[in-house]
Symmetry: C2
Subunit: 367 residues, 2 copies
């Protein structure tokens, strides 16, 4: 294998592909980065068997071939190339030693044979959808924080993509709170799959804020996303998701409109003494156009109050402050609407108009 | 105790004083922050018995008194006060409960009695010196990185301040390298003390870049520094420092002038494969106006070269790359001069003209 390419392109491709490299694995080869020189194209592949990232750049290929390099060593070497030189020369000799040359700097180290490296299979797409990368990023960001951290129910550790009648719902839930993000997409097939939380978080880093159209192909077991710079292949989570459409269908009796920052800061303040104590909750008392917040633990007490627009019956209701805070932080709205029924029913947090997102948070039962 | 003060002043004082609060201590009271309301002045004190920081602000004191609060709880509460309000009201009642009020937000939690808190004693100053805070900061920064991380020789875990005949030398050394920073200060008494490394690092955070004159008072066991915002009292390290003036008095036979960034980047590149291997070194071969750098370990090999101005005999000499890198990073000079004698004698790194600093690094013995 022998090729040369621009330092900058190499840097970018390696930093993308190495995101899928296993940091520790019983299969040593998975800690490596697969490199393949093809006709005028160099391909970099990281694969931890859950997630595979495939990133290609153009370059001058003198001799085709492939190898597997220790990912962190190769990546660090590329980062440390002298910045004053534009072009990088890479060659693997007959003894499987890779030589990287850039200006006067020369690195060499041994590589592993490429045939042991698991390459992703062509996926047998049953369905696909297309959406802008900025929208996909936003829909993931506004739901992935709500997924479960423990895997007693594996489907709750992922986010659901549910495309139905031209409406895409992305859903995250951990059993105590549920985040739904909705967006109309025209001319798309119906489609449902559960993406792993880890993959969703990696996508947040890989996706940009442009209007580039990402194609998502889905088979029984896998999804493949065609991003601007790379192709991401990921295992899907098996099983059925909960029927999120039927959650919180009770009738609400109190509607509150408030500035997001005001209630966020106030709950954050109250949570100061809750964070260290076990099962602490914040109590919201909403009456006469005022929210009174109170939190009392073994450490001390915090009280706060602020004015809101309210319509309906007063309420006294308690929450795990973390669930409220994470919801408020992810609204990306200046104002929000909160809908309550009784102290035992969940609150629904959504935009003041429309329902592009809905966060449903179960209260803490006080008595 | 009852007082009010500006939110901003309170924030600043607490963030300074809490730097000296013990994060974990067998004496619980040391995890606290001492607060004392005096005539129109509120004093905050953190003391971990090695280091004590004393910071006072002005305020309206209605009732004098003192208490000790859990430092992290108090500090977090102050940070979370509503930013829209300027004034903070603090009161401790007869049950030792502190009430903090700012706008609609109210915190309360219990405090500990102040009389158990160890206050710093007035130090019996034998000597003192005065220097600008920016200079003190610079002199510490350029020497403290060279101190020893293990305490088999306690005096090597601190930096020496040696004021003699109007010349202040600050010295850090770990037995393998020695950093000296020199500066002429007129009209100062002779003075010598060893400051703990931890204290020196805290001072880097506390000192600003202004020309404010810091007074340093020194007794047998302690030093007291009068900074712009606070007074720092610290235990000194007992014992004699090594006679640093006699180190590296051999005659040099090779003088090299090089761009600091060029040699820094080049050694950094070479150290890539040294970092993970044990006892790896970089080899410098300097001849015919060229530095050839080579590093070879079990991981692979890195080579590099660059041009320099040289005068004298060629040399081949090996170093621990970390010692070189840390020296280069702390020169703050665009160009440096390196003086060599034999492969067994230390290199001296200093400015191209003058000797405001000198870094002396022992080579690795190859054979």
């Amino acid at each position: 294998m022998k090729f040369s390419c621009l330092r900058e392109n190499l840097l970018q491709a390696v930093s993308i592909a190495e995101r899928a490299v296993a940091s520790k694995s019983t299969m040593n080869i998975l800690e490596g980065l697969f490199i393949e020189a093809k006709e005028n194209e160099i391909r970099f592949l990281g694969n931890n068997l859950e997630l595979c990232i495939d990133c290609s750049i153009t370059g001058n290929v003198e001799k085709k071939g492939s190898c597997v390099v220790k990912a962190n060593l190769f990546s660090d070497a590329i980062k440390k190339l002298p910045a004053s030189n534009q072009e990088v020369f890479v060659e693997v000799n007959e003894n499987n030693v890779i030589f990287i040359t850039c200006g006067n700097a020369k690195f060499n180290f041994s590589t592993a044979p490429a045939d042991e490296f698991p390459r992703p299979q062509e996926i047998n797409a049953l369905d696909e959808m297309v959406l802008e990368e900025s929208l996909l990023k936003n829909m993931i960001r506004q739901t992935v924080y709500a997924i479960s951290q423990n895997d007693t129910k594996p489907y709750l550790t992922g986010i659901l993509f549910d495309m139905k009648n031209g409406l895409l719902n992305v859903v995250g839930c951990d059993g105590y709170r549920l985040a739904i993000r909705r967006e109309a997409l025209t001319h798309e097939k119906d489609l449902q799959f559960i993406m792993q939380g880890k993959t969703a978080r990696e996508l947040l880093s890989l996706l940009g804020d442009s209007d580039y159209k990402v194609t998502v192909k889905v088979s029984d077991k896998q999804a493949q996303l065609y991003l601007k710079n790379c192709v991401v292949t990921t295992r899907l989570i098996d099983g059925d998701y909960l029927n999120y459409e039927t959650v919180a269908k009770h009738e609400n009796t109190l509607f509150v409109v408030t500035e997001t920052k005001e209630i966020l800061d106030s709950v954050d303040r109250a949570s100061l003494i809750a964070s260290e104590a076990i099962k602490a909750h914040v109590l919201l008392h909403i009456e006469d156009g005022q929210v009174n917040i109170n939190c009392e633990t073994i450490l001390g007490q915090v009280k706060d109050k602020f004015e809101v627009d309210m319509q309906g019956e007063p309420i006294e209701i308690a929450f795990n402050p973390r669930y409220l805070l994470e919801a408020f932080k992810n609204t990306e709205c200046k104002e929000i609407k909160m809908s309550f029924s009784t102290a035992l029913n969940p609150v629904i947090i959504q935009p003041v108009s429309g329902n592009s997102f809905q966060y449903i948070v179960l209260p803490v039962r006080l008595h």
